[in-house]
């Protein structure tokens, strides 16, 4: 079945450093979505990318969707302690239920 892989599994950064997580799918995706889950919380929708090569920004967060629509990345500039949590990418081929990656857990050291 379809698989969505994320790297790294964990990332520890000093506050103010940048952070990037990468997502790769075994199949071409119709769209890619990103979610953030705070410790003890539930996933919260961040953004959806649909077009090949699409780049979207939300303040310090930059999201990219690969040209082949099989990979994506999330980059956070100048991390803050409020960025702590696990970031999940999720996608599926066609209009089918989302498949989530295992996530990247971000720790920010003040």
């Amino acid at each position: 079945g379809q698989q969505v892989m994320q790297i790294p599994q964990y990332q520890h950064v000093q506050e103010g450093e940048d952070f990037t997580t990468y997502c790769n799918s075994s199949t071409t995706l119709s769209n890619i979505q990103w979610y953030k889950q705070r410790p003890g919380g539930h996933p919260v929708f961040l953004i959806q990318l649909v077009k090949s090569g699409e780049v979207k920004k939300q303040k310090r967060l930059t999201f990219q969707f690969g040209e082949a629509k099989k990979n994506s990345s999330l980059h956070i500039t100048a991390t803050q302690t409020t960025d702590v949590g696990t970031y999940f990418c999720a996608g599926a081929p066609g209009n089918t239920p989302l498949v989530f990656g295992k996530g990247t857990r971000l720790s920010v050291i003040a």
Binding site: N31, H42, F45, A90, N95, P97, F100
Partner: protein
């Protein structure tokens, strides 16, 4: 507007027992999806319902079943509980079936099987 409501928030059950988890989607949302999240892992898809019909089923045993009611709320049932069923069960609400609009998750039901 109320968000996605799940009940109960926490539950402790014994192996072999049965459990029913409930979810009320956002008003106007017709699709409900159920996910299982084991500690340290990403959510795993269990079921998706749209307009009271099952639209997708993940790789879970027949002990897992679900249904959607006319008011679009949903129940997830798990029979003959195993220790490995201990997890956070998440309900996701979306406007339509599939995943083109992003999911809104409830706070989840944390199930512990002892």
């Amino acid at each position: 507007d109320a968000g996605v409501t799940q009940s109960p928030t926490h539950l402790i059950k014994t192996r072999g027992q049965h459990v029913t988890l409930r979810c009320s989607p956002i008003s106007g949302h017709k699709s409900v999806s159920w996910y299982q999240q084991v500690l340290g892992q990403g959510p795993q898809f269990i079921f998706q319902y749209y307009e009271k019909e099952e639209r997708g089923r993940g790789n879970f045993p027949d002990r897992f079943s679900a249904r959607q009611f006319p008011n679009y709320s949903s129940e997830l049932n798990v029979n003959a509980l195993l220790l490995g069923d201990s997890a956070l069960y998440l309900c996701a609400s979306s406007l339509v079936e599939g995943q083109f609009y992003g999911y809104t998750f409830g706070s989840g039901t944390r199930l512990t099987v002892v």
